[in-house]
């Protein structure tokens, strides 16, 4: 079918200027609006909620300390720090790994999920046969992840602290 002459031609033959047709205008408007809203949406989803970030920072800071009491164990702990002079205390790490999720939530005073593990040369550091503390993230909607660098057996290692919900 042959389209009407005026439907395919953007330039009127009997006019010297350029003209726009309604459907072209609508299409461009839709594309522009879609792009705009998408970009806004992307900015929103890449930043976890601030309380997740703040909690992850707090927990990582506590973990990088010797904790309290300084010689705490599972029965006396009030602040579960596991690091002294940037070096991991394996006994304290084992105690940390043995804590239930509820204990962690109480000690770190959060209702978010916590996941803590140490990594060296691509492998998790094992303490008393345990490789982590807390819950592994499972289809999270918000995640804050902080890495801290420390020494394990006099070799640099990484502590991962994940707060998620």
């Amino acid at each position: 079918m042959r389209l009407p002459y005026k439907g395919v031609c953007f330039i009127s033959r009997n006019r010297k200027g350029q003209i726009w047709y309604l459907d072209v205008f609508i299409a461009l408007s839709i594309i522009t609006l879609t792009g705009f809203f998408y970009m806004q949406h992307i900015d929103t989803v890449e930043s976890p909620r601030y309380d997740h970030i703040e909690k992850a920072q707090t927990i990582s800071g506590l973990l990088m300390s010797p904790g309290y009491p300084l010689d705490w164990d599972i029965s006396t702990v009030t602040v579960p720090g596991v690091v002294h002079d940037y070096r991991v205390n394996m006994a304290k790490l084992a105690d940390l790994y043995s804590m239930s999720h509820l204990q962690l939530a109480v000690l770190f005073q959060t209702d978010h999920n916590i996941y803590i593990y140490l990594e060296q040369d691509g492998s998790n550091i094992i303490a008393d046969d345990k490789s982590h503390a807390g819950r592994l993230p499972n289809n999270p909607s918000d995640v804050a992840h902080i890495r801290r660098i420390l020494l394990f057996e006099e070799k640099p290692a990484i502590m991962h602290v994940v707060v998620w919900s």
């Binding site: 839709i30 992307i42 002079d85 995640v143």
Partner: protein, 633 residues
């Protein structure tokens, strides 16, 4: 528009297809949520933690694979990792520090982050990707390292143990006098010149008051007869000043300087300005000095002899200055005055006594026109006062007088003290009738204690003489500055040259004209041959000018430009430990160079002792350097 001819169902137009695609794409994208993983808050932690572990870990605890690889490059296994990095950077081992840092941090920084390490702004390692959008930085200070400065090495100090110094000494013949008429006035000064010196120049300056006969001014030094041609005297008058080179006459040890003067029209005497200036170089062995708080100095009188020729009158007088530092404590003085052939005239030979008004005068001398009067004093002693402290109208032929601190201590002053004694002199009119003299056994013993911290230690003392310069003036100012190397100064001495003198005032200070009066004659004609200026009135700094102003209160009594100021200072004969050098010979050479720079033109060190110390692990030695780790996304 596309319309299937045999169907009644739905249809698409190309416009509708495009529209629908856009709508569905938008709905999909809006509803899709990528995983919410946080990266940005890691930056600061990663930078700080990386610096933290490097600050805590000792090199000997490094993982075996890293330690073995860098074992031969490690400076000290007790260093922290961050100190070792700083040391390699200081040694400019750029590749080494890059490789180590890369290996040490392998796997610690997520791939989506970049990072870099810097020392004092020098990039020692940097990731090439990603491009930085957000950057965090952590810093640590490392003391004891500085680029191209070894932190292990040697330092050296140096001490001159044998030196040759250029210095100057002046020996003054004090203003003094004797006989009247045809009798001769003989003055003898004995002085010592240190051993091991080489005299580069010596000059005798005389300021005398005699008649103009060619034989009335006779001088010797060590028997070396010195005649100053009449044409070489400055004025050609009875009071005159002359100079002559005496380099060839002097010797190490005791030297004897005599002046034989006569004034047939008046009385013969010396004026301020009779001195010998000796420029010399001297070799000294510098030994460890034992500081003493107690100072004992003895000032001997010159032998002053008035020679009787059968018709002349005789009598002797002399002036002796001595110096007490302002910071001296427990000052004690013993004065011994001895003269021979003194005559008791005023008591035994007086023909008639007058009481005018409070003194007793004797009428006993007919000068051809009238009877002259004299006080009843055959001996007078003045100390810093215009009135006599002690008189003796009946002296023994061998007259001896002792004065202790209890007698004259209250008359002593800080600075220049002036002692004057007269035997058988009564103004200008009356004299003895036999040869007599003041013995050079006479002395002033001075004792005092001085704070130890004002005593130089490990220093070489240098004296430099400087002429006042300029034309003769009765109010004259000169200036001088100590050299930059001087770090301890002694009191300065002024040696005035005057054809005639009456009453001298001296000011010192750092303004022109100087404002601090440091000396004034205690009486008319009491002008010593040397006047001391305490170092309290002088500035040590080479950038500060010291001004000295001298004025004779009798206008016309000019002070000659050849007058001297002798200032003494000390230059350290040692330098402390300097920079750290990798090689011992470099440290020693540096110490010797620093010592020679400090000694300047005044001292030539002919023997130098050096000490070398190994230096390591001194945190304050260099630096500090700032080590920085940057992490970015």
């Amino acid at each position: 528009m596309i319309v299937p001819k045999n169907k009644k169902g739905w249809f698409f137009t190309i416009d509708a297809l495009i529209f629908a695609t856009i709508i569905f794409t938008a709905i999909f994208l809006y509803t899709y949520e990528p995983p919410r993983v946080l990266h940005t808050v890691n930056h600061q932690y990663l930078a700080d933690d990386l610096l933290g572990i490097m600050s805590k870990q000792v090199v000997s605890d490094l993982p075996n694979d890293i330690f073995e690889k860098y074992e031969y490059n490690i400076t000290d296994v007790e260093f922290r990792v961050i100190e070792q990095l700083g040391q390699w950077w200081a040694n400019d081992d750029v590749q080494l520090v890059h490789d180590f840092f890369l290996e040490y941090t392998d796997g610690l920084i997520p791939e989506q982050n970049g990072y870099a390490a810097l020392v004092n702004g020098d990039i020692i390692f940097s990731s090439t990707s990603p491009q930085p959008r957000q950057v965090s930085s952590g810093k640590r200070i490392v003391t004891g390292v500085q680029k191209l400065k070894p932190i292990k090495g040697v330092v050296a100090n140096a001490r001159a143990t044998r030196i040759t110094k250029n210095s100057t000494m002046l020996v003054a013949m004090q203003p003094q006098g004797t006989g009247w008429g045809t009798g001769w006035s003989s003055m003898t000064k004995t002085f010592s010149i240190p051993s091991n010196i080489t005299i580069t120049n010596a000059e005798m300056v005389v300021s005398v008051h005699t008649d103009l006969h060619v034989d009335s001014r006779q001088f010797t030094v060590n028997g070396c007869s010195l005649t100053i041609p009449a044409a070489d005297y400055l004025y050609g008058t009875d009071g005159d000043v002359g100079m002559i080179d005496i380099t060839h006459c002097l010797q190490s040890g005791d030297n004897v300087w005599t002046m034989l003067l006569r004034n047939t029209n008046y009385n013969a005497h010396s004026h301020p300005g009779s001195y010998i200036r000796i420029d010399y170089t001297r070799e000294e062995i510098i030994e460890q000095e034992i500081l003493t708080k107690d100072v004992h100095k003895r000032f001997h009188f010159d032998r002053v002899e008035s020679i009787y020729d059968g018709s002349s009158a005789t009598g002797v007088w002399t002036t002796v200055p001595f110096f007490i530092p302002p910071d001296a404590d427990n000052v004690g003085v013993d004065i011994y005055v001895k003269a021979e052939n003194v005559k008791d005239y005023t008591t035994s030979s007086c023909s008639m006594w007058y009481h005018i008004p409070s003194f007793i005068y004797c009428q006993w001398f007919w000068d051809g026109a009238s009877w002259q009067l004299a006080r009843n004093f055959d001996y007078q002693m003045f100390l810093n006062q215009g009135t006599a402290h002690h008189i003796d109208p009946t002296p023994s032929s061998t007259a001896e007088y002792y004065y202790g601190t209890g007698d004259v201590g209250h008359l002593l002053i800080d600075g220049t003290n002036t002692l004057t004694v007269y035997f058988n002199t009564y103004g200008d009119f009356a004299w003895n009738d036999q040869t007599m003299w003041i013995s050079d056994e006479s002395y002033i013993d001075l004792t005092y204690t001085i704070p130890i911290d004002t005593q130089p230690f490990g220093h070489v003392e240098i004296s430099q003489a400087q002429e006042f310069g300029g034309p003769p003036e009765d109010d004259k100012t000169t200036s001088f500055a100590f050299p930059a190397q001087a770090n301890y100064i002694s009191d300065a001495q002024i040696y005035l040259i005057q054809r005639y003198s009456y009453w001298i005032d001296v000011w010192a200070g750092q303004t022109n004209p100087p404002s601090e009066l440091v000396y004034t004659s205690p009486a008319s004609r009491a002008v010593p041959g040397e006047i001391f200026v305490s170092r309290d009135h002088l500035a040590t700094q080479s950038t500060v000018t010291n001004f000295i102003r001298v004025r004779d209160q009798n206008a016309g009594n000019e002070i000659l430009g050849e007058s001297q100021i002798l200032y003494t200072f000390s230059i350290p004969s040692q330098v402390g430990f300097g920079e750290v050098f990798a090689e011992e010979e470099d440290a020693v050479a540096d110490a010797i160079n620093r010592l020679q720079d400090r000694m300047g033109v005044f001292i030539d060190a002919t023997q130098i002792e050096t000490n070398v110390n190994a230096i390591t692990n001194v945190p304050s030695l260099w630096g500090p350097a700032i080590i920085e780790v940057r992490v970015w996304q």
